[in-house]
Subunit: 258 residues, 2 copies
Amino acid sequence: MATVFTFGIQKGGVGKTTTTGITAWLLSQKYRVLAVDFDSQGNLTQLLTGYDDLQIFREKTVLEAIKTRNPREYIYKVSDNLHILPADDFLSQFARWLYTEYRGRQKATVLKETLAVVSDDYDYILIDLPPNLGEQTINGITAADHNIVVLQAEPFCYNALGNYLEILVATQEQVNPAMNVLGILTSVIDPRTGVGQGILARTRDEYKDLVFDTIIHRRARVAEFAITGIEQRTKNDREALQMYESFIEELMTRVSEY
Amino acid sequence: MATVFTFGIQKGGVGKTTTTGITAWLLSQKYRVLAVDFDSQGNLTQLLTGYDDLQIFREKTVLEAIKTRNPREYIYKVSDNLHILPADDFLSQFARWLYTEYRGRQKATVLKETLAVVSDDYDYILIDLPPNLGEQTINGITAADHNIVVLQAEPFCYNALGNYLEILVATQEQVNPAMNVLGILTSVIDPRTGVGQGILARTRDEYKDLVFDTIIHRRARVAEFAITGIEQRTKNDREALQMYESFIEELMTRVSEY
Ligand SMILES: Nc1ncnc2c1ncn2[C@@H]1O[C@H](COP(=O)(O)OP(=O)(O)OP(=O)(O)O)[C@@H](O)[C@H]1O
Ligand SMILES: Nc1ncnc2c1ncn2[C@@H]1O[C@H](COP(=O)(O)OP(=O)(O)OP(=O)(O)O)[C@@H](O)[C@H]1O
Ligand SMILES: [Mg+2]
Ligand SMILES: [Mg+2]
């Protein structure tokens, strides 16, 4: 039975995909991991498979896996231990399909039921969420055991935090009592400015133990992974990945407390 | 008759709201400007009004303006020459309202028809778009005379560019032949890395005159505007705003060529 994580917040461009991708990649060194790209931008698919053009995944994505309830058919092997359910821009049809074609009663659990089919094949399943509060996000957090909130220490993202936590708690109460909010992972764009430090301090004051100790800093090498693929060969690679390794250590400790 | 601009791309966190807000603020020094927040995050509303908590705008947003076709009722005056149609998270109901309640024939032109009611009151109308290709984005670009594509020089955003331009061209052909793609405004996170420079060069090669000469650079003062409000008092303020002033000069030149 795999443990399922989501990485989300409705604010755009704060590191959801990058954190999901690197975490999946690092975990796959010891465990069997399925990454799920649940954003129609397909960035997690690009990051992990190296394909910029997603034409090769046309009609072989997470959307088909959900429609047929047969995810095995659409899983792409990145390596022995790292598989992905890819996405392309057709995933933007998900909400319309849910409202106009899906015949089941519970709209919020279609992803959860789809992933259950392959859950025994993996140790961890990591879901990347889109920058909105639509049906993909609701389905993603409903499918999760543990939800990780990705917070960039900047005003617009901080303003989004309250709403996102409310949605998580509402989903826990109404649809999936077994899920939880595992923690808030903070990142800082520019540590020299007061804006970032101020928001980090406010977040720790307000949410205390919910905030991971690890802070993700901006490193040029991380942004380059989107072009070169994730690597761990040079000292620069290892330094960039170090932040995410200490995040994973904390992640495992938090999970073990449940 | 106001000239209508949109600022968009489906990639999140690339500067759409910041560019819309600062451009609206600067234009309002000489012209009558209406800013339209068409993203349920409400970031443009926060940036221009200074309210972090959007409760004060509950049921007084662009969504009500569209439903009643009476935008004047919901316009908030930031200053004499700068007004805003605000948004809050209820705007995420827009797509569902369009599919389940709206009785008109053309779903893509509801915003355009709503803004037409007040078009004579303004010289410029600037619309901030959300990070997706949903109904808000389609309605926004259909309401526009000129669409500005906001491109951050990083791989995921560059990968989104082709799709976004296709959507703009398809909307021009099918719904609004009078609109155009005015240009691609590029921004660079970290000028020292090769990633940004490489993407800037590729974009210029591929899209030539479509790319604005002005490049938006990261400046800490700009990120702080989300907390302090946009100001032009200190040397630091003026330097931060300078990038956007040269963008506006180019904008006006391009518009005059139509
Ligand atoms: N630690 C980091 N150091 C440097 N750059 C980073 C880091 N994390 C993310 N980035 C870069 O920041 C940008 C935004 O990250 P990413 O696309 O992962 O965010 P996102 O929240 O998934 O965006 P969206 O809301 O569009 O899905 C990307 O260009 C990415 O390469
Ligand atoms: N020129 C700049 N210099 C420094 N920071 C900037 C600049 N432009 C934007 N930012 C910051 O980058 C972050 C993302 O910008 P913004 O929220 O405007 O992007 P967006 O494309 O509207 O995001 P979304 O896709 O979530 O709507 C914000 O924290 C903003 O303050
Ligand atoms: Mg993403
Ligand atoms: Mg925005």
